[in-house]
């Protein structure tokens, strides 16, 4: 009897080990994406008696949307500088020496509880042999204004869920859409968060560099971003998902909607940007037909993601 039990037990153990392993779902979702939640120091610089430190997710500036947290410490007193007025301007210099900028928050917001100044920058390209980025930061301490500039490295964003797109709208303005979240999507419902920005064309002649009026961007307010996700893979036949919600603006200025991903893989987020009056700024409706063997539909305005 004992021997028999032993035999049966052995069979059980042999069987319990399956021929094909079950998929580790958590690992499966992380193959193409990494989620960064910690802010680490990306750069630090000294200017006179002050130490300026900027933190970003993963301690790195990436192409696309970056939330930044800036701290200024008085190196004499070792105290954080509070209630300063801080301006923040990223400048891109190309191979010909032309200077431009990208969407950013010019006046940083002071967060009293955490003691830092927050803002964002949407870098439109990564640092390369021909492209370099500088940050121009002004801050006040008492009545005195200090200016700092520092070269930074903008890294390539490998996570496609943080892609950006830039385009000229039907109103001739230049727009930017940057994906902010989810960094690592799940199958199912995801809160899709994006920033929408516009370049404000300068109305005056350029002053002394860096003249902020020449590099002005603003958050686009009260627009709607219509969403139609599709899978581009031909065998998926223009597959889409149900129960998605268009993106509308939240109190923090970002736009939020809901995207449902039915499976992992490549997805195209087709957008139509509409202004407050409901006029289309950019984007076209895409076919909803099921077309096996044909690449999924992409409209005039879209961002590709992958997870």
């Amino acid at each position: 009897m004992k021997y028999l039990h032993f035999t049966l037990l052995t069979i059980c153990i042999v069987m319990a080990s399956c021929t094909i392993e079950k998929t580790d779902y958590g690992a499966e979702l992380g193959i193409e994406t990494t989620e960064f939640i910690e802010f680490n120091e990306a750069i630090t610089t000294n200017s006179g008696d002050y130490n300026i430190s900027i933190a970003a997710l993963n301690g790195t500036f990436y192409k696309g949307y970056n939330e930044i947290r800036l701290k200024i410490t008085n190196s004499n007193t070792n105290e954080l500088l509070e209630n300063s007025e801080i301006t923040f301007l990223p400048i891109l210099t190309d191979a010909n020496g032309n200077k431009s900028s990208s969407p950013h928050q010019y006046n940083l917001t002071y967060n009293a509880t955490e003691g830092y100044y927050s803002g964002f920058a949407v870098f439109t390209s990564e640092t390369s042999t021909t492209i370099s980025w500088q940050l121009y930061i002004n801050f006040t301490d008492g009545n005195k204004t200090h200016a700092v500039n520092e070269t930074i490295i903008v890294e390539e964003q490998t996570n496609k869920n943080l892609n950006i797109t830039a385009f000229t709208g039907n109103d001739n303005a230049q727009y930017f859409i940057a994906l902010v979240a989810p960094q690592s999507p799940n199958i199912g419902q995801n809160n899709l968060i994006a920033g929408i920005y516009r370049y404000n064309k300068p109305t005056n002649v350029a002053g002394v560099f860096p003249d902020a009026t020449q590099f002005s961007y603003s958050i686009v307010d009260n627009y709607t971003l219509l969403l139609d996700p599709r899978m581009p893979e031909p065998s998926m036949g223009n597959h889409s998902s149900p129960n998605n919600q268009d993106l509308t603006q939240q109190t923090n200025g970002l736009y939020q909607g809901v995207v449902n991903y039915t499976m992992t893989g490549n997805w195209t987020l087709n957008f139509i940007l509409k202004n407050e009056q409901g006029q289309t700024i950019k984007g076209t409706e895409v076919s909803t037909a099921f077309t096996p063997g044909i690449v999924g539909a992409k409209g005039e305005l879209f961002i590709d993601i992958l997870f």
């Binding site: 009897m1 893979e233 893989g265």
Partner: protein, 653 residues
């Protein structure tokens, strides 16, 4: 001696209860105890055996693993168990009904109960099919017995070998069996090869019982089943490998005095793995991996009570099942990211239920059979985000209470026998109905989505039968009617778009207000001459939804008639069976009109002795006229097998 007599008594009690309790077909089957064979063929598969029952029909997706429909209802509505143990298939496409995990040589009997009477092992609507394993009783004298069957079927080159052996003495019983079947593609009535219809199956079972005291015993059982390289011509995929291990340990205690006669408790575990394969289908646009797993732990404890004319069985059933199915689609450019999703997102089903069945012998000519059950069914979807894509408010956990009651009265008047019965019961949605995600149904070519918050399906049922018996023959008619509230079926969703490239849309499991089902059968037997017997069966069924549209997979008027003649060591059988035209088909659910067909079959057997061992040799032909046909329930109208000449040899030791 005392123990033995108790044992035998208990067996008798059980049998009597079974045979009287079941109004429908199992009476016929009980008489075939220990003989899983049909009139036509002595070496049959489990499916072929089941097919000989009037209230079983089949959805066929190929030559292997047919899905049994009981009272014209699919496996979600019936309860299929092995010795009362719950086993759940691991295939989202229903390639593996539980009947595919046993073989005819490890079974002694298949008990079919219609409607709520089958609720003893768990909640059901259609009834229950219990596959009873061979279990040799203890014996004073040491005894060895066994059997060996081999055979060949010409149409698909099926070659099979089935062997079983039993040992018994007064302390120990061992039952073992092994079987192997291997078949190539079959040919239809136009002599055309039906590609991807091959199969190979290996099944082994071992049972060991040990008598612990005069009145108690322990039994350990295991079944191992492996099917590989199984083609499903009606599906876009085949099966590369399926393995099942079904184990149990049971303790049985008899009581000499008092009203409790037997107490039988069993713990069981079974695990199934199922791997589909599309690499033999070059027509497929997408390569997919679709593995599935199903693991079940359970407890079954029952006591048989008897006092005076009343005998009862009380049963506690509890089980926990985890069903997992994955799909991974490969893009045309294989260097690209694969597309992954769960088609069963780790769905747990936990059930506990108490049921009772009573038989009251009111008089020698009348019995009342009544009982009921109450079960609690708990579902948990680990990755509920899949379910929330289509049902944003889907609950991750769901508790359902599943009550049932039934009663039947059976009486004899002269040569007549009548019975009337009624039942009421709930069932919970199946894993696919509740939690399935983009399960492609190649019959109507829709992707199916489950809904975790479906209501319980509630069945109200009435049944009746009337029979007349003389020395020369008998005639028996049975009828039942089901009114099913919240009938679960797939309805086209306006949401979403297909995922499988062959599909044309998305259907969601939805509850109809109600549906009705009517089943009728009449069976007659007549002894023409002492050795010439005739028997015939006619069945009719009708199923309608709440808008009086036809339900799918309802068998049209069908018949079966056979003539058996025996002379000395020879036996001859001819049979004719067929369906009439399928008029009441359901275009809404992907059906089209199926013409009538008839099959003419013959067989002959010869019994002789090799030494002292009884040996039977049989040769026969199914579909002798090589008719080209497919039935109403052949998935995708795949043609059935054409003429099939079979031979088999059976030796009993």
């Amino acid at each position: 001696m005392l123990f033995l007599s108790t044992f035998v008594n208990a067996q008798v009690v059980e049998k009597k209860k079974d045979s009287l309790g079941g109004v429908l077909d199992e009476v016929v089957i009980i008489t075939k105890k220990n003989k899983i064979k049909t009139d036509l063929k002595m070496a049959v598969s489990v499916d072929e055996f089941l097919a000989s029952s009037a209230n079983i029909s089949f959805i066929k997706r190929g030559a292997y693993a047919w899905e049994p429909l009981l009272n014209n209802m699919s496996t979600e509505r019936s309860m299929i168990t092995i010795d009362g143990m719950h086993v759940f298939g691991a295939c989202t496409d229903k390639m593996d009904p539980i009947t595919s995990y046993v073989d005819s040589n490890n079974l002694s009997d298949i008990e079919i109960k219609s409607g709520q009477e089958g609720g003893l092992h768990g909640a059901t609507v259609a009834g229950s099919i219990d596959l009873k394993r061979k279990s040799t009783p203890f014996d004073f004298a040491k005894k060895w017995s066994g059997g060996y069957q081999t055979g060949f079927e010409l149409n698909n080159n099926q070659f099979f070998n089935l062997a079983n052996a039993s040992f018994s003495d007064d302390k120990l019983v061992v039952d073992a069996s092994i079987s192997n079947r291997k078949a190539s593609n079959y040919f239809d009535g136009n002599n055309e090869e039906v590609k991807n219809s091959q199969f190979e199956k290996l099944n082994a079972s071992l049972g060991v019982a040990y008598k612990t005291t005069d009145l108690s015993s322990v039994r350990v059982d295991a079944i191992f089943d492996r099917a590989k390289d199984v083609g499903f011509p009606a599906l876009p995929m085949d099966l590369s490998l399926s393995r099942a291990l079904i184990t149990s340990i049971a303790y049985k205690q008899f009581f000499e005095k008092g009203i409790v006669k037997v107490w039988d408790t069993k713990l069981y575990f079974n695990a199934i793995e199922h791997y589909m394969d599309d690499t033999n289908r070059p027509e497929n646009l997408v390569h997919m991996d679709m593995p599935g797993w199903s693991t079940t732990y359970g407890l079954l404890s029952k006591i048989n009570l008897q006092k005076g004319n009343l005998s009862s069985e009380v049963q506690l059933n509890a089980y926990n099942n985890l069903s997992i199915a994955e799909m991974r689609m490969y893009p045309q450019d294989r260097s690209e990211r694969t597309m992954f999703a769960f088609s069963w997102p780790w769905v747990t089903t936990t059930y506990a239920g108490l049921s009772i069945n009573n038989l009251w012998d009111i008089s020698d000519t009348s019995q009342l059979n009544f009982g009921g059950s109450l079960g609690v069914n708990y579902n948990f979807s680990k990755y509920v985000e899949f379910n929330r894509i289509f049902h944003p408010n889907a609950s991750q956990e769901k508790i359902r209470f599943l009550p049932s009651v039934h009663a039947g009265y059976n009486f004899d008047v002269y040569n007549f026998n009548f019975s009337f019965g009624s039942g009421y019961g709930h069932r919970a949605p199946s894993v696919s109905e509740g939690y399935g995600y983009y399960i492609y149904n190649s019959f109507d070519r829709f992707d199916y989505i489950g809904n975790p918050d479906l209501k319980n399906e509630i069945s109200y049922e009435v049944n009746a039968s009337a029979g007349y018996k003389t020395k020369k023959g008998s005639i028996h008619a049975k009828v039942n009617y089901f009114y099913i509230d919240n009938y679960i079926i797939g309805r086209i969703l306006s949401l979403g778009s297909p995922m499988n490239y062959q599909s044309v849309g998305v259907k969601g499991y939805t509850s109809l207000d109600y549906a009705t089902l009517f089943n009728f059968s009449i069976n007659a037997k007549y002894t023409l001459l002492q050795k010439l017997h005739w028997q015939g069966t006619l069945t009719y069924a009708r199923g309608l939804d709440d808008t009086k549209m036809n339900l799918p997979f309802i068998r049209p008027l069908s018949y079966q008639s056979s003539l058996h003649f025996s002379h000395k060591k020879f036996g001859f059988l001819t049979s004719l069976n067929g369906d009439f035209e399928h008029i009441n088909y359901s275009p809404l659910y992907g059906e089209d009109e199926t013409p009538s067909f008839k099959n003419f079959n013959v067989s002959a057997d010869y019994t002789f002795y090799i030494k002292d061992y009884k040996t039977v040799f049989q040769v026969g032909a199914e579909n002798l006229l090589n008719e080209f046909y497919s039935t109403y329930a052949d998935w995708g109208n795949i043609p059935r097998m054409g003429r099939n000449i079979f031979t088999s040899l059976k030796i009993n030791f």
